[in-house]
């Protein structure tokens, strides 16, 4: 007897792998949440007027700041480009500019106060008559907006269910149920891996990643469904039992799925590699939902589908009063 890769016996093993990742992810999420850039930290802002801008366009300001930070042995996490200050009511520029460096919360206030004094005295000395103001602020974590999160989750659930109903009509309810299991699995596993890997993300990113997981998961599973439906029409497959049919079919359809996955992966990698750091930080982690969806579509999905295929076959056999060749032989024995 040929041993098949896709067998119900292996399902508990793969389900356990997913469960372990999920549990670890849930625990880490409960303890630390996602590694969302909350904006908390210490900001070091230098505001200067037109005297400085006319003299050198503000480049010297940044040079002085960065030299001072180097000499004190502190590194900033991010720097906002020099931004024009605005009038409160008209939003017109008032001639002043502010450059802001953001430091981690653990950088000591004393060191930053020392940097402030050094920068202020250096710049005031260099630019006679200029107004230079340096200030260090302690910024707390940003407020979290709950409504976009719960509405986003509801939106994805509703949309996925509607889409799965359509898939049910087109490809059969067995594949729909499998698709539902895979979509839920992929979204949860993606979020769990996001919590485990501690990849730094923007506040909106986890929701977009969940959406990406839904899209990729449904897309890849649909590719499988299309190939299965086409292949199972072949009369040779009608005589096979569910396990054999699925294993045979996936020998060819897995190749197609891998082509699609490779195309998507190339897109994420190229954009991630070429684009600016912020864009890269968004696109490269997208390989996470892609990897999860690929795993579930190539490994978990077919195993989950096996019992449903068996039920489908049984119900079809009853309807058609037809028993597959192998089953008929077994029955005769």
């Amino acid at each position: 007897m040929t041993k098949h890769f896709y067998s119900l016996k292996k399902l508990p093993l793969f389900a356990a792998i997913s469960a372990v990742i999920l549990i670890v992810g849930i625990v880490l999420f409960a303890l630390f949440g996602f590694n969302v850039e909350s904006g908390a930290g210490k900001s070091f802002s230098v505001t200067y007027d037109a005297v400085v801008t006319i003299a050198d366009g503000g480049e010297r300001v940044e040079e002085v700041c960065e030299n001072t930070f180097d000499s004190l042995g502190i590194n900033y996490e991010s720097k906002s480009e020099t931004a024009p200050d605005l009038d409160n009511s008209s939003l017109a520029e008032n001639g002043d500019y502010t450059v802001t460096y953001v430091f981690a919360e653990d950088v000591s206030s004393e060191t930053l106060a020392s940097a402030r004094d050094t920068v202020e005295s250096t710049l005031t000395g260099e630019f006679e008559g200029a107004s230079v103001y340096v200030v260090v602020h302690e910024v707390a974590a940003g407020a979290s907006f709950v409504e976009p999160v719960w509405r986003g989750a509801v939106a994805l659930i509703v949309a996925a269910i509607v889409v799965l109903v359509y898939i049910g009509f087109r490809f059969g309810w067995g594949r729909t149920l499998t698709g539902l299991v895979l979509t839920v699995h992929d979204v949860l596993l993606t979020l769990a891996l996001l919590a485990i890997t501690r990849i730094p993300v923007a506040a909106f990113t986890p929701l977009l990643f969940a959406a990406a997981a839904v899209v990729i998961s449904l897309f890849i599973w649909m590719v499988q469904c299309m190939k299965m439906r086409e292949t199972f029409k072949d009369p040779a497959f009608r005589t096979m039992d569910a396990e054999e049919a699925v294993n045979e079919c996936l020998k060819t359809s897995n190749k197609t799925v891998l082509y699609v996955v490779a195309a998507v992966a190339v897109v994420f990698i190229v954009v991630g590699a070429v684009a600016a750091p912020g864009v890269r930080a968004f696109f490269l982690p997208l390989l996470l939902p892609l990897a999860v969806s690929t795993y579930s579509s190539l490994v978990l999905g077919p195993m989950v589908y096996l019992p449903m295929k068996r039920m489908d076959d049984r119900s079809n056999a009853k309807k058609a009063r037809y028993v597959g060749k192998k089953k008929a032989e077994k029955a005769e024995e």
Partner: protein
């Protein structure tokens, strides 16, 4: 189709696509001195706070957003303190300095009389400030703005960031910080107006006893702020305005009027629609402020006023957009290389299809009001492009298989498309439905991603099933050897000796 007709069609399509490509993607100076500049549609499409701001004038971006620091009464910035101190007369300086206490290493100064209880910040101030921050956060959340944020800075000031694409950012900073109770007064001027809807939160008749909610609505290009009145509220306003000729209704937060409504006749309505000069953004802003005040305004509300305000450039840096375009260009090139290598000159059909898709998406992002070019929309456009490429490849492969079995090229194309039609249709309809349904429920970045995905899938499906096939159809007559044109081969059959 004959060769001549095909040539005409192909020439026309090529010209149209080329012109649209230039209009959509290629900015260029219109004269030698660089004063007049043609900006591409992609250039003037709104960008989000991460990738960049919107375009003002011809070439200048207004940055990714605006950030303001809001100060409660009794708190001033260190800079204002220093400026005020140096501006005051020498004999008054000691008195001025005595009024304030330095906080957060001089970053802010607290007025002793208002804020402090002895040497510590008073509990009532802490409580009122926390409540004001809560109300402010609720207001900003209700605006559903992508990339908006609220951070408490130095314990007693609030830093608010709004995207530059928000058309009423300036007004928002000014009004969002208004705190207090909601009241409605009626009279010929603000000072003598009589309060007709008393605001006595926690007593028998709070404002919510008269007004159920305040909402915003935009219909047929007109935006309204809507007061949904209870029977008591309706009666109170009807009684006050009976016989009115030229008076005003004032909708106040604390002591300041947010809406002044001219009244020329009795108002007796269960829903009071106020249009004025509102647009969608401003009506939603006013409704959010009034409704949150109705729900949680208190007499002790600590108003927040705008201090420093500056512009933020795109948070991903100035080069992010350009680098992203380069990455997308590399991907387009890679996709074309694959198609030209595998399908020969049929790659041109894919090129035309992909360009039509990209042009359509660019025009949509530019023309549809709430769409911005950001990470979500770029991701959705990429999903569409991938699905389009996969669909094109699938249709070519099906045609290849049909041709290999011995059918003529025309029949192979027809039969191939027939066989894969529902695969392509299903894939696109499913993802488009996913996008549009998500859009109707989700907010902010996710809704932008979802809607872009929806229209992306629609155009990708249309391009793959219609444009691609049509391009193939009109390009084919030029090939002497049609199989070579597509790099298709017949199956080799071993003949028996």
């Amino acid at each position: 189709m004959g060769k001549v007709k095909s040539a005409i069609c192909l020439a026309l399509i090529t010209v149209v696509i080329a012109v649209l490509c230039v209009v959509c993607f290629v900015p260029f100076p219109c004269d030698g001195n660089g004063l007049n500049y043609f900006n591409s549609i992609l250039g003037i499409a709104e960008k989000d706070a991460e990738l960049g701001g919107y375009l003002i004038g011809e070439t200048e971006y207004v940055g990714g957003g605006y950030t303001a620091v809001l100060y409660p009464e009794g708190v001033i910035s260190g800079r204002d303190y220093e400026n005020d101190l140096s501006a005051s007369a020498e004999e008054d300086q000691a008195e001025y300095a005595e009024k304030y206490s330095s906080y957060a290493d001089g970053a802010i100064y607290l007025e002793k009389e208002t804020v402090l209880d002895g040497t510590e910040v008073s509990e009532s101030f802490k409580k009122n400030f926390a409540h004001s921050v809560e109300v402010l956060t609720e207001r900003i959340e209700r605006l559903h703005l992508p990339s908006a944020s609220v951070n408490v800075v130095d314990d007693y000031t609030v830093q608010v960031s709004l995207p530059a694409s928000y058309s009423v950012a300036g007004a928002a900073f000014e009004y969002l910080g208004r705190m207090g109770e909601l009241s409605v007064s009626f009279g010929s001027d603000a000072s003598s107006a009589e309060t007709i809807i008393p605001a006595q939160t926690g007593t028998e008749h709070p404002a919510s006893y008269y007004i159920k909610s305040v909402t915003a609505r935009t219909a047929s290009g007109v935006s309204y702020v809507i007061f949904n009145m209870t029977d008591e509220g309706r009666a109170a306003i009807a009684n006050a305005t009976s016989g009115a000729s030229s008076s005003y209704l004032y909708f106040n937060i604390g002591d300041e009027a947010l809406i002044t409504l001219t009244v020329s006749e009795q108002i007796d309505q269960s829903s009071l629609y106020i249009s004025g000069s509102y647009d969608k953004d401003s009506s939603e802003l006013v409704a959010a402020i009034l409704d949150t005040t109705l729900e949680s305004g208190t007499e002790d509300g600590l108003a927040l006023s705008v201090g420093e305000l500056h512009r933020d450039y795109a948070s991903y840096g100035n080069s992010a957009q350009m680098m992203l375009y380069i990455a997308l260009g590399v991907l387009l090139l890679a996709s074309l290389v694959f198609f030209f290598v595998r399908y020969g000159r049929l790659g041109f059909a894919h090129l035309y299809t992909m360009l039509v898709y990209l042009i359509a998406m660019t025009l949509c992002i530019w023309a549809i009001d709430f769409l911005t070019l950001g990470m979500g929309s770029v991701l959705a456009v990429l999903f569409g492009a991938i699905t389009l490429s996969v669909s094109d490849a699938m249709s070519y492969e099906y045609a290849r298989k049909e041709y290999a079995t011995g059918k003529t090229m025309t029949f192979a194309v027809k039969s191939g498309y027939k066989k894969c039609f529902f695969h392509i249709f299903d894939a696109h309809i499913v993802l488009a439905a996913l996008g549009f349904i998500t859009y109707f429920i989700a907010l902010t970045e996710l809704s932008v991603f979802a809607f872009t995905l929806g229209i992306g899938m629609f155009f990708a499906g249309l391009c793959s099933l219609a444009v691609n096939r049509f391009c193939w159809y009109i390009m084919m007559p030029f090939a002497k050897d049609k199989a070579k044109f597509c790099r298709f081969k017949r199956e080799e059959v071993e003949e028996d000796d």
